[in-house]
């Protein structure tokens, strides 16, 4: 048997081999010759690999395959591109404006109510089985000193935080409310090290739990919840306390810490990137300092909030596809002086790229001036005061209320401009604008130089059937609420 070229093997083997390639290599293979191009183009399985990648998603856990999966993906893409939801459901909740704590992760909306009751809404079930989608139960949890919780349903994990002295974390399963079997010490105590608790938030990324306290002097704790120990406690002990600081885990071994800067007089602000070892107590290592646009003398940042979607350690059960953790947009909401707000958007992969460089080359802390990273890799847009709600981002999309409460607006940074069909004519109900050109942010007398940024995005505005002033978002839906007293206990779920 004489074979001289890979093309002499049967085409079905070729496509079988291709199915094991990563999307990028697969795309390259399609430009090798006609046979390979046709093999890739004519196989729904291979097209699915490519299109899923283009949407920044990974396969989920449901059984859709080949052409069906591809069709479902296209349907979903069309729906989000035009903000055309496929179903609308209204569900009773306790007003978010009053409730103690709530979470929206992996298709679950969870709320700790005023009493001991715990509300769980399976948002996916709302569409098919609305009777059983909503469940309230009393887990008999300890309520004294209970402050907040965080969840990762893909690990069946709920972590509750108690501010007694000493403070403690309680790691349980969401399904049965038992101590979590993967936690060596499901309950472990630690010293808060601060008197004023103020505002704080909890984040879970895989085996790490972080609690960040933003009231100066800010501090944060990192824990490995499985091993059951505190990795580090970082306190701001500078002579000049940070006028603001914000923290966000980038991965289970890295985080960003944004603040005004360590040098007196340097108030332009910076984003520090740190790595740490999650497997033993240790101190984080600063690997990069990204400077924000230089500001004029006497101008300073008075507040900053970092927002990004939640992390899931595993694929979401029952979904045909899951947004990859890598495809995330970070929004830095920055306030210069008083009331001069702006939003800085940057992709996770840009921030985390410094972590990769560090792991590969053990580079020391790199100071990156704004001009070297900002204009090309970010988009800075005018902003407005932010509400306390942290769930306005999922993946590469951001949902915001409009001044006209009948509308909702979505920013999508996951688009690929080269692959976008021409934007349709605006109507009274819907308008979409693709922004690929650089734009200049104008804030009176704030910046030393003109701040021009160019990260591409799509901005969409759609008319809704009711008025809302608060939106949450996850992978497949927008959740809408109104703070008006008579309607704040209702949540409308638009599923795409």
């Amino acid at each position: 048997m004489n074979v001289h070229s890979l093309n002499d093997i049967p085409p079905e083997i070729l496509s079988e081999i291709f199915s094991f390639l990563d999307p990028k290599t697969l795309l390259l293979c399609s430009s090798v010759c006609h046979l390979w191009l046709n093999t890739v183009k004519s196989s729904p399985e291979l097209q699915y690999i490519l299109e899923l990648w283009a949407d920044g998603m990974v396969p989920g856990t449901s059984v859709l395959t080949g052409a069906d999966a591809l069709e479902a993906l296209y349907r979903r893409r069309r729906a989000w591109k035009r903000l055309e939801w496929t179903s609308r459901n209204v569900v009773e909740i306790e007003s978010l404006f009053l409730c103690r704590a709530y979470e929206l992760v992996a298709g679950l909306f969870i709320q700790q109510q005023q009493g001991p009751d715990f509300l769980t809404i399976s948002l996916a079930n709302l569409v098919d089985d609305s009777q059983n989608a909503r469940a309230t139960r009393c887990d008999g949890i300890e309520l004294s000193n209970f402050e907040d919780f965080a969840i990762d349903p893909t690990q069946d994990l709920i972590v509750r935080f108690y501010t007694s002295e000493p403070a403690y974390l309680d790691c349980r399963t969401m399904s049965s409310h038992e101590p979590h079997p993967r936690a060596n010490h499901p309950v472990f105590t630690f010293s808060l090290g601060r008197h004023i608790i103020g505002s704080f938030y909890i984040q879970i990324v895989d085996d790490i739990v972080a609690i960040f306290f933003s009231v100066p002097p800010c501090s944060f704790h990192l824990f490995n919840w499985r091993a059951g120990f505190m990795i580090t406690e970082v306190k701001d002990e500078q002579d000049v306390p940070f006028s603001f600081a914000e923290f966000h885990l980038l991965s289970s071994r890295s985080y960003v810490f944004a603040h005004a800067g360590n040098n007196p007089g340097f108030n332009s602000g910076q984003i520090d990137i740190f790595t740490f070892d999650g497997d033993c107590p240790n101190s984080p290592t600063n690997i990069a300092i990204l400077e924000l646009p230089p500001v004029n003398p006497k101008v300073g940042i008075s507040s900053m909030i970092i927002l990004a979607g939640p992390f899931c350690a595993n694929a979401i059960l029952g979904t045909p596809f899951t947004k990859a953790n890598q495809n995330r947009i970070y929004m830095f909401l920055i306030c210069y002086d008083i009331m001069k707000w702006c939003r800085l958007f940057v992709h996770w992969r840009w921030l985390h790229g410094y972590v990769i460089d560090h792991v590969r080359e053990k580079t020391g802390p790199t100071i990156v001036p704004w001009k070297e990273w900002g204009p090309q890799n970010t988009r800075m847009l005018p902003g407005a005061t932010h509400q306390w709600n942290r769930h306005i981002i999922h993946g590469e999309r951001v949902v915001l209320a409009c001044e006209n409460r009948k509308f909702v607006q979505v920013y999508d940074f996951g688009i690929i401009p080269q692959r976008m069909p021409p934007v349709s004519q605006p109507t009274a109900e819907f308008k979409a604008v693709l922004h690929t050109e650089p734009s200049t942010l104008v804030l009176n007398n704030v910046f030393q130089d003109i701040v021009t940024t160019s990260l591409p995005y799509m901005h969409m505005v759609r008319l809704l059937d009711e008025e809302y002033n608060l939106f949450l978002m996850d992978q497949d839906r927008i959740l809408a609420m109104n703070s008006a007293e008579d309607s704040s206990h209702r949540m409308t779920v638009y599923t795409f």
Binding site: L6, T25, L27, L28, S30, S31, S251, A313, P417
Partner: protein, 179 residues
């Protein structure tokens, strides 16, 4: 033990659990039942069979494909986009290296042998052998998949695109470069 006879009439005594990785032979054994009769493999030469049945330290199909299908955290990404959960990433990287080394060894056969192995694997229905990451092999080292010219050279493939077609495809695929 199972007795296999190759196209060039060589006989092989092979462990049952190794030959049963071949769906073809597994089915044959089930059809025949307990028997000492040799199993003829008219489409497989002895040199290829040696390769195909050598005790594999390489990954099974589940391993390789599983990395793509499993989770958001350990999905196969091009090396420039490693997974987000760095602990899992370490595991992935370790496994990736294992595969790569195994592939490396496996791939150090000449082209003819390589294709014969692919065909034999197809004939014998051994999925795990079909899924070697030939085309990605180089990408482990130079942080990028092989460019099309190199793939063509590696596999003796003639570029049958016109320059216009090639330019068109390049343009269509441009978006992927920085992802």
């Amino acid at each position: 033990m199972v007795l296999l006879v190759t196209s060039d009439n060589e006989q092989f005594q092979t462990e049952k659990d190794i030959v049963e990785r071949s769906v073809l032979i597994k089915n044959m054994l089930e059809d025949v039942g307990e028997s000492d009769q040799p199993i003829p493999l008219p489409n497989v030469s002895s040199s290829v069979l040696k390769k195909v049945t050598q005790p594999s330290t390489g990954p099974t199909e589940i391993d390789v494909r599983g990395r793509y299908l499993s989770t958001a955290s350990t999905t196969v990404e091009s090396p420039s986009r490693p997974p987000i959960l760095e602990q899992s990433q370490d595991e992935t990287r370790k496994r990736t290296t294992d595969i790569s080394e195994w592939d490396q060894k496996f791939i150090t056969v000449d082209q003819e042998m390589l294709f014969e192995i692919i065909l034999a694997a197809n004939y014998l229905d051994i999925k795990s052998l079909l899924c070697r990451r030939w085309l990605q092999d180089g990408s482990q080292h130079d942080q990028g998949a092989r460019p099309p010219e190199e793939i063509r050279k590696l596999f003796n493939i003639v570029n049958d695109f016109t320059p216009e077609e090639e330019a068109q495809i390049k343009k269509e695929n441009e978006w992927a470069e920085d992802r």
